[in-house]
Symmetry: C2
């Protein structure tokens, strides 16, 4: 059964696609145009009532929320492709911890920067320099803690690549190289931190992520 992934152009669905490639799971993509409001169409709301991306369909099983979907596939195909959950219960706990840190500490200020810098003109509202500055400061403090953590282990949850690292790829990409849609021009936030910089080079050079960017 080929997994259908909705909304491949956007960042959060790329989290799912990177995971499916790591797990060697076949997939196809279904375009959803947010600018045209397709994520609020009744047909789409039947799949995802909150009108958000991504959603997957796997036979008659439908699942949404990118970080739920990657957990599902990492566990369903545990012994296939890259092991993404650690090898002990305690390692898995740390993977969960850093997945939550990504969602609650790393993502919100970075998402705000993306909305302000990349999407404000496209969405028709003025960029707010105060919000940009506050978000940049907040993200900087988070990355200082990452720097300390990554001085002690190669990856966030330990010395193994996991969902916790993978989950950072789509939005961190905006900081560094960006996408055709735009980039933040804040590469210094990664580059000024030696261990964060090495970690980013390491995880973003994985074949799975390169393939995501080529799609």
């Amino acid at each position: 059964m080929v997994v259908k992934v909705y909304g491949p152009v956007y960042a959060s669905p790329k989290r799912v696609i990177a995971c499916l490639i790591e797990k060697q799971v076949e997939f196809e993509t279904v375009e959803v145009d947010i600018i045209k409001g397709e994520h609020k169409h009744p047909e789409f709301l039947k799949l995802q009532p909150f009108g958000e991306l991504p959603v997957i369909q796997d036979g008659d099983y439908t699942l949404y929320e990118s970080r739920a979907i990657i957990r599902y596939y990492a566990e369903k195909y545990k012994s296939q492709g890259t092991e993404l959950l650690g090898s002990t219960m305690e390692e898995k706990g740390l993977v969960e911890q850093w997945l939550e840190v990504e969602a609650h500490n790393f993502h919100p200020p970075l998402y705000e920067l993306v909305i302000q810098i990349v999407f404000s003109s496209k969405l028709g509202f003025p960029l707010d320099p105060k919000v940009v500055q506050a978000s940049e400061e907040k993200l900087g403090k988070v990355l200082d803690i990452y720097e300390e953590r990554l001085s002690r282990s190669k990856y966030l949850a330990g010395d193994f690549f996991s969902l916790a690292d993978l989950s950072h790829l789509p939005f961190a990409q905006y900081l560094v190289e960006g996408y055709p849609l735009g980039k933040l021009g804040k590469e210094y936030m990664i580059r000024d931190r030696k261990h964060v910089s090495a970690w980013w080079d390491n995880i973003s050079s994985r074949p799975s992520w390169k393939k995501v960017l080529q799609l």
Copy 2:
């Protein structure tokens, strides 16, 4: 080994405590006073570098982020106490989905209401009626989707109680009965929705949650 839970007075640590009671895991609590700034003390930052609650210590294993901790214990003690992850991979996927919905759709507007209505005077800033109104509207729309979902299944992830339901308890409590620290006075948001109301009565009358409130 008795699990140490930091910060039992606050809402997020109650998510962990409810889970430990459901899983019949022994624990003790360690007070952390946020008003006194104890969550930013160097000793605490060694356990939780972001200065947030809760943290647990289980022997020499330290873990933070409440939703990571509850996943860890639900899996570690899978065959002990209440099964909180569903019984198939697909059920577990839906538990993960609704855990993420709780974190990303339900929690942010409700947290904003709690900060504004319960904590603004304690923290020394004025309540902003515009923020209250916007958050209430946002939460209302989320609860409309819950109402539809709960008209089709007894619990969020299906016909079984899970981490997804449990995770809602600490902040939903503010809507209805509140805590000694204060309540929102927005019980109508639950009571005006028949299925949400029945769901709340069901999950909040579990012995585990009653015990949490007595602590």
